[in-house]
């Protein structure tokens, strides 16, 4: 019971000699609230892809609750409780909010194989969907096609689908990206209310959200970890500032040569 939720060791990914992920180590204890930040092109999305299994790593290992999942398929990782959300909405636009989340619950429980029996008769799943809708404050919109609700609320549906898959480790990839500022608090509240049993890795640009949410954080630049620890400490680091502000851009110049 003591092993951490997610452990990443010496993870590397090259595209034709160009390293996008270099020896990344990451360890999330159970119930962690960890933020991953870094400038554009730092390799954050690649890292999420590697962890979720959408991209195959060149070397290194990934462990989920002590089990090595490095070679396990993306779909199998989902079944083992490693679930991600997407930066850009990838929903079922003509289906209702309820149906979007129902689909995910139904797949997670194997109900989607049922050809007989109506959708409305699946009481346990409907209960589960309603609980998620309630928690995310989406109940009022449940019957509306996803394409017709506000973008910020669509992001909540995205989160709802992830929750429906009963995650133990949740990767949130920029949940607030593209959301108008008035709708951001909705999302923050929803994330705040996620159960402590869920381990969360958050990729986010918005420092407000990061600071509100994260208990620990990691900064990624040029594919490698340059700082990790408590937010105050990390943000005070000179190296982090320089990466973000480009004050003394020398280091980037050096690494830039490699692939110019």
């Amino acid at each position: 019971m003591t092993e951490p939720a997610l452990v990443v060791r010496s993870l590397c990914k090259n595209y034709g000699g160009f390293a996008v992920t270099r020896n990344v180590d990451l360890e999330l204890p159970r119930g962690a609230r960890h933020a991953l930040i870094g400038p554009n092109g730092a390799g954050k999305t690649t890292l999420v892809g590697l962890i979720s299994g959408a991209i195959a790593a060149n070397s290194g290992t990934i462990e989920l609750f002590g089990r090595d999942i490095t070679t396990v398929s993306a779909a199998q990782r989902v079944k083992q409780g490693l679930v991600r959300t997407f930066q850009v909405n990838s929903l079922f636009p003509h289906l209702s909010v309820f149906q979007n989340i129902f689909l995910a619950c139904s797949e997670a429980r194997g109900t989607s194989q049922r050809m007989l029996g109506r959708t409305s008769g699946q009481k346990p799943i409907i209960g589960q969907v309603e609980a998620i809708l309630d928690m995310l404050g989406l109940s009022a919109d449940a019957g509306r096609p996803v394409a017709t609700i506000a973008y910020g609320r669509q992001r909540l549906v995205e989160l709802g689908i992830a929750l429906a898959l009963e995650p133990r480790v949740l990767l949130l990839d920029e949940p607030a990206a593209g959301v108008p500022s008035v709708e951001v608090p909705l999302l923050i509240h929803a994330i705040d209310r996620l159960g402590e049993d869920i381990t969360i890795l958050l990729i986010e640009h918005d420092m407000q959200i990061v600071q509100r949410f994260a208990r620990t954080m990691t900064v990624l630049a040029e594919g490698q970890v340059i700082a990790s620890g408590a937010p105050d400490v990390v943000m005070a680091s000179e190296q982090v500032r320089s990466v973000y502000l480009g004050k003394s851009g020398h280091q980037r110049f050096e690494s830039g040569k490699a692939h110019a």
Binding site: A74, A75, V78, K79, S90, L91, F92, P93, H94, L95, S96, F98, Q99, F102, L103, A104, S106, E107, A108, T111, S112, Q113, R114, M115, L116, G117, R118, T119, S120, Q122, I125, I126, S139, A142, G143, P145, I161, L165
Partner: protein, 331 residues
């Protein structure tokens, strides 16, 4: 929260609505109104069933195929060959025709359904053409160009004999149509039906939430092939004849046109479109058939340009205009 079952699955309804009951009264009424046109009416029912089978995969799972006649034709030939081999019990013969088509779908589906879009259309078109040429070539089995004629079947339940007045064929076909309609109706209303709609909307995402996308598609493709095979088998029984036309590319394309004429996205689309197409075409043949081609062509253009969802779309729009209630936008 709303109690409308469409909330859970757009394809699900509480019970038979007034409109639906009226719809199913039509074929019964047709029997009394046009007692001398029953063989034609049977043909209408068969085409409606075939279009419905295509609608199941196209409207609900987003599979666009140009080779659905392969299943219709296989069902027809299997049933015909059974009859010629001396097996003439009608109900099981029909069922076996459908089963043969289902087996074919089960075999080719896993490979085929990894394709989408134009490549899928081309492969299904080519497969349909191969089936057609093979049937032409295997004259010793299929009769080739001359077809298989004078097929005979025992009376249904040992009571109702087949005759040219077509009462038996009509009710027999109607019964199959209704049963398969109920099956389709309940299928699309099930969680599986909803999963199919998810695949139609976003197959990539379905895969990422752990759904066996190809598996789901193969399953519904097989069921659709079964229904198409039944339609073919019924055509063999009702007309007592099977010719190469049951495998023709025209038939596949006509089924698509029927479906669009009726409306994509609703299980009634194929039924309405199939019936309408055959009836209109029959009327037009008394008029000027090349004009008919012009009319159906113009109709297709207008349907696409106006974005109306076929006849059903127009009716829906009209009813919502009249009742002035919620505007329903079906996908």
């Amino acid at each position: 929260m709303s109690v409308d079952r469409a909330f859970y699955n757009a394809a699900e309804r509480n019970r038979f609505g007034l409109l639906e009951i009226l719809f199913w009264l039509c074929p019964i009424a047709a029997f009394f109104l046009f007692p001398t046109s029953l063989s034609f009416a049977t043909h209408v029912l068969i085409m409606a069933l075939f279009a419905m089978s295509l609608g199941l995969i196209l409207s609900f799972a987003g599979i666009v195929t140009l080779g659905h006649a392969a299943f219709f034709g296989l069902g027809a030939y299997v049933t015909a060959l059974l009859s010629l081999a001396g097996y003439q019990e009608p109900i099981t013969a029909t069922f076996l025709g459908g089963a043969a088509a289902a087996v074919l779908a089960l075999v080719i589906g896993p490979l085929l359904l990894r394709l989408t879009g134009l490549p899928l259309m081309m492969v299904t078109l080519a497969l349909g053409a191969v089936m057609f040429e093979a049937a032409n070539k295997l004259g010793w089995l299929t009769g080739g160009e001359n077809g298989l004629g004078d097929l005979r079947y025992q009376p249904v339940f040992g009571i109702f004999r087949w005759s040219i007045y077509g009462q038996t064929a009509y009710f027999y076909t109607l019964a199959w149509l209704f049963v398969l309609f109920l099956l389709t109706r309940s299928l699309v209303a099930s969680p599986f039906g909803l999963a199919l709609q998810g695949i139609r909307e976003n197959p990539l995402r379905m895969n990422l939430i752990g759904a066996p996308v190809t598996g789901h598609l193969v399953r519904v493709y097989t069921i659709s092939a079964f229904i198409a095979g039944i339609a073919g088998a019924l055509s063999a029984q009702a007309t007592g004849f099977v010719g190469l036309d049951v495998l023709s590319v025209d038939l596949s394309i006509n089924a698509l046109v029927m479906l669009v004429l009726g409306g994509v996205g609703n299980i009634y689309g194929g039924l309405v479109g199939g019936a309408l197409y055959i009836v209109l075409r029959n009327l037009a043949s008394d008029w000027n058939p090349y004009h008919w081609m012009f009319v159906i062509g113009a109709f297709l253009v207008v349907v696409v340009l106006l974005g109306q969802n076929g006849v059903i779309g127009i009716v829906e729009r009209l009813t919502s205009l009249i009742s002035g209630q919620r505007k329903e936008t079906s996908p």
